[in-house]
Amino acid sequence: MQLDFTQDDEAFRVSAREWLLANAPRKRGPLDGQSARAFAQAWLSQCHKDGWSGIGWPKEYGGRGLPTEKIILWYEEYVRARAPSVLDCTFVSLNHAGPTLIACGTDEQKAYHLRRILVGDSIWCQGFSEPGSGSDLASLTTTGLVDGDHLVVNGQKIWTSYADIADFQELLIRTEPGSKRHKGLSWVICDMKSEGITVRPIKNMAGATHFAQVFYDNVRIPLSNVVGMLHDGWRVAMTTLGFERKTAAMGLQLELSIKIEDLIALAECPPGSAIGKQLAELRAEAAALRAMTYRTLFKDPVTASDGSLMRLYFAELSQRIHRAAMDILGADALTDSTWTHDYLESYSETIAGGTAEIQRNIIAERILGLPREQPA
């Protein structure tokens, strides 16, 4: 076990720092809508211009093929420079759609989409969850029936982040009539401008509108948009979720180390006080989260269940840090601010992308080998 960055790594760190400090927007971007899209696109295109987009993607697809050491250094510098949150509307394209296409897409799909993603030209969303299928994703019922060289899609998705401003959607649908659970699903590329799609934006509890319900009424999608094999979508979807749980969250996790330092500065409290003790504990936990991030990244092999340990620790720590902020703010906790907004947003951490209860089930059943509570 060792944690030695090479001279080359250190030189990389310095170049990343200098570029970020010179280029990262100082102000937070807009929260939702077209202005959020424009802001995220401008930032990604700027990153791309100077070679900072998709640094971990293979070179043949326009990335830099950098090793994990350099990626982690990039994100450490990224959060220290307070560059825009990685969880903006480019998150799905850069961290799910792109890597999924690289792993399972056809040459045509790769040729068309990957460059557009890296440059920031196309924004993607993820259409997995449905009103009746959240934690139980495999029960989904939106259907796609083969009609000639097309699929005809009917049904609805919900909680689709950025559906209102996305160009494409990773859409998981039931394509084999009468199939059950994980079988008979397909992962398809859906053009959000297709006829028959209606998007109903939904406001969240923080007052922002970045998720939506999406209705499909006889939407025709070419069969050439299926990624992986027809009816083999579950396997493709699991590739994507694996990405999400490993590298994609790195920027978010490291960002908590910055937030806790900001909070300590905000509190200006004597070390012995009650809040001082709480902040000390949170700082220690943020240090542990960073260590977990390093371990998961440099461990081989890493499974999706390892990701669950980190994801759960992250989610609950993030919520604790934001709750502490509300205590520190006093009466200002009643006003709208970056802290109070992020506090309300933090409620989603234990829901989105697999709830805390589901993560605990995964840890108990898949890592610890405890018996399952419900039949599969």
Binding site: G134, S135, D136, N204, A331, L334, T335, D336, E373
Partner: protein
């Protein structure tokens, strides 16, 4: 005298009547309209006259019944003006300003809650209020708001309605007397209890109907235990509230101690229950389309109205005899 922790007939009646009124005039669905609550129906019901002695137009009920009613007001997420009102009435009466007290209790003068923030005051849902009660730690202050210019301030999650006032305040009077602060805290914590219970109920109903993996989510132990935890905490808080209300009504020696315990527990329990309620609802709980988030924001508001922590400054009603301590 005997001991009896059950509601008597009068108490049950007032609870039923208040509940009926709240269900018809203040259903939770009204919150989607984002309009300030009109408190006229509550005033006509006599909810605010509970604060006055009978000889001045009061109803003859005590703080125990008033706390029960405030539990329901919390449940229905009635504007914090309904809390500022009885505190203003009591404060005015203490200051000898009975004309103000009576108008406030009748609901003809509108009062809002206010909290100090740096060099200004934040008025909560007080755009049209003529009086304000400043909840400032171990003191409450009654102020006249009429002429003060107000500046709208975006509130927490864009749903807490706030305005800011600055400059010299026109003070009607203030009070640092623990008995008024205890009364105020009792009503605030009663509302917090109402929210803790309502969020438990909302979560439990949802856990019964929402199905995943072919069965109701309430059948999963994780959800069951969440619900059980919410229930235990709410029960403990509710028992403490009743005991504290009796102690305050009867001016017992342990009243301040019981209220101090409430001040600590009520926000903690309310926060925990509301958080769990949101969590049990999954995605819809995080959206603004379910009502759970309104509970959360109201807990943040109510918490600001509590006076300071005194838990370790007060003698406990049940403590070891000092003589035995000395012997050891």
């Amino acid at each position: 005298m005997t001991c009896d922790m059950n509601y008597n007939e009068d108490q049950r009646q007032i609870l039923d009547a208040a509940n009926a009124l709240l269900n018809t005039s203040y259903p939770l669905s009204r919150l989607q309209e984002e309009k300030p609550d009109d408190l006229t129906a509550l005033a006509e019901f006599g909810a605010f006259a509970l604060a006055l002695p009978e000889e001045r137009g009061g109803t003859g009920f005590t703080i125990v019944e008033e706390a029960l009613v405030h539990g329901l007001l919390g449940r229905h997420l009635i504007s914090s003006r309904a809390l500022a009102n009885p505190i203003a009435a009591r404060l005015a009466a203490r200051l000898g300003r009975h004309e103000i007290a009576e108008q406030v209790a009748a609901g003809t003068l509108s009062v809002c809650a206010a909290v100090p923030a740096d060099d200004s005051l934040l008025l909560i849902d007080g755009a049209k209020a003529t009086l304000g009660v400043v909840f400032g730690g171990r003191q409450v202050i009654l102020i006249a708001l009429e002429e003060l210019p107000r500046e709208g301030v975006p509130g927490l999650g864009h749903s807490v309605v706030l305005s800011r006032v600055r400059g010299p305040l026109s003070m009607i009077g203030e009070c640092t007397d623990s008995s008024l602060l205890d009364t105020s805290d009792l009503l605030v914590t009663a509302q917090l209890l109402g929210i803790a219970e309502a969020s438990r109920d909302m979560a439990v109903s949802y856990a019964k109907v929402r199905e995943q993996f072919g069965r109701s989510i309430g059948s999963f132990q994780a959800i069951k235990h969440h619900c059980a935890n919410m229930s235990v905490d709410a029960e403990a808080l509710s028992a403490l509230l009743d005991m504290a209300a009796i102690a305050v009504r009867d001016e017992r020696g342990d009243a301040a101690f019981q209220v101090a315990a409430l001040r600590l527990l009520a926000p903690r329990v309310a926060f925990a229950n509301v958080r769990t309620c949101i969590q049990i609802h999954g995605g819809i709980g995080f959206s603004a389309e379910a009502d759970a988030h309104h509970y959360l924001k109201q807990v943040h508001v109510l918490r600001q109205l509590l006076s300071g922590n005194t838990m370790l400054d007060l003698p406990a009603p049940l403590a070891p005899y000092t003589s035995i301590n000395e012997r050891n």
